[in-house]
């Protein structure tokens, strides 16, 4: 039940091979007495996509898959499992590994309780169009990350992928405004984009607080601007670009563009490499006295 869409035959065999090894490694891990489960992917019931799968025993490990549809980020489940006693196995591709590194640094999970299987990813495809996912255009594997096992060299794949349109920076103010009005009109404030994100692990989310009540509930444009600006800002310097938020959105809101623009700006203004690539301090917890000062009259 392997569904590669437009991955060339030769590569498909290679992926299938990796899937076999993934199952073996997961099964072996699940033989350990202290193993709780192994988080990877399985096919969805319609077999057109994959979804996260928690394998609990070696037999269930046979349901795990690895292919070019493995979009979900298994590491995003770890914060809520932090108090479990025992070992958790987790399969990570490049973007997931960056998320995992951020989680470990932020003390959301302890490295010693994890069994990490690294998977060299060669780019995923969009299940609807068959094209390589645009996020893979920005793929970067973490540098010197500590995996327990890997299915090959954990290096950034060389991919030729176009960035997805539109380019917000190239738009005029009026165009951007119109663009966001159109996008946010679609938003139904279900909060899936926030709940799917590996980085949204606050025990009490600002959007759920009632005292002080930060977010109003009216659901009009202003509320949605507040929601989307704050959500994106909270991920500034932490977003690994996995685009899970955009994938989860049932209304097709292009909020990936907000994250991307924050990543671009961090790079442009502060030469920030991206979250989870190295162990360098988080973007907004650090500074340089040489940071630009674009506000008017900054030095006098």
């Amino acid at each position: 039940m392997f569904h590669a869409i437009r991955t060339p035959g030769r590569m498909r065999d290679q992926l299938k091979d990796m899937q076999t090894r993934l199952r073996e490694i997961a099964a072996a891990f699940l033989e350990r007495p202290d193993a709780l489960f192994f988080i990877g992917w399985e096919m969805t019931p319609d077999e057109k996509e994959t979804r996260p799968f928690f394998a609990r025993n070696p037999r269930q490990a046979q349901r795990l898959v690895w292919n070019d549809l493995c979009h979900p980020n298994p590491a995003s489940y770890l914060p809520r499992l932090r108090d479990r006693e025992g070992m958790i196995g987790v399969a990570v591709k490049g973007c997931d590994a960056r998320a995992l590194r951020e989680l470990i640094r932020a003390n959301q999970i302890e490295r010693k309780n994890l069994f990490v299987l690294g998977i060299p990813c060669t780019g995923l495809v969009d299940p609807n169009t068959g094209a390589i996912a645009s996020r893979c255009a920005e793929c970067q594997y973490p540098v010197d990350f500590d995996y327990d096992e890997t299915l090959g060299p954990m290096e950034t794949p060389a991919l030729t992928v176009e960035r997805s349109a539109p380019d917000l920076d190239a738009m005029s103010l009026q165009q951007r405004r119109a663009f966001w009005k159109q996008e946010l009109d679609k938003c139904i404030r279900c909060d899936a984009c926030r709940k799917i994100c590996y980085g949204c692990y606050c025990p009490e989310c600002i959007f759920e607080m009632s005292d002080p009540k930060w977010a109003t509930n009216r659901g009009d444009l202003a509320d949605k601007i507040f929601y989307h600006a704050v959500r994106a800002y909270h991920l500034a310097g932490r977003c690994v670009g996995c685009d899970e938020c955009a994938r989860a959105c049932p209304m097709g809101v292009r909020l990936d563009l907000l994250n991307r623009s924050l990543r671009d700006h961090a790079k442009e203004m502060f030469s920030f490499d991206g979250a989870g690539i190295t162990d360098e301090k988080p973007l907004l917890r650090t500074f340089s006295t040489e940071d630009p000062d674009p506000f008017f009259g900054g030095d006098e």
Partner: protein, 144 residues
């Protein structure tokens, strides 16, 4: 738009900018009536959420004032403010706000005249921009 009176929120840090405002007052500088000033211990105490919240709940602009870089009472607060401010400003622009609706600036305790100048210029700039595109009906909070 000359008769437009914007609603403006100013955050000023206790150790420099708020003292600067006092100084301006002593020199008989009249605070423009459309500005509300909130004293915070350090410019880094201003949460980006507060700025976004203000801009989406009916205010036309937000100005954060702190000590000059290097002079923060808590040594590095204003450097953090600067980074956060830059990221926030870019984000707001990406989302369709004019680039000057949110600004950060530095005013020391001795700079009463500078305080007056920074604030007046800011008010003029916002007047020229006109009302924020996310303005709300003042009394019900719903959009007009």
């Amino acid at each position: 738009m000359s008769d437009f009176e914007p609603k403006i929120l100013i955050f000023a840090c206790n150790w420099c900018s708020y003292a600067g405002a006092d100084m301006a007052g002593v020199s008989r500088y009249q605070m423009p009536p459309n500005c509300r000033i909130i004293r915070v211990m350090c410019s880094a105490r201003v949460r980006p959420e507060q700025v976004i919240s203000a801009l989406t709940q009916g205010l036309d602009a937000v100005l954060v004032l702190g000590c000059h870089p290097g002079d923060c009472h808590y040594t590095e607060g204003n450097y953090l403010t600067r980074r956060r401010g830059i990221m926030l400003k870019n984000l707001l622009e990406t989302m369709g706000f004019e680039k000057n609706r949110f600004q950060v600036n530095w005013v020391s305790a001795a700079e009463g005249a500078r305080f007056a100048q920074v604030v007046s210029e800011f008010v003029e700039e916002i007047k020229a921009l006109g009302p924020s595109h996310v303005s709300r009906d003042k009394d019900t909070g719903t959009h007009a």
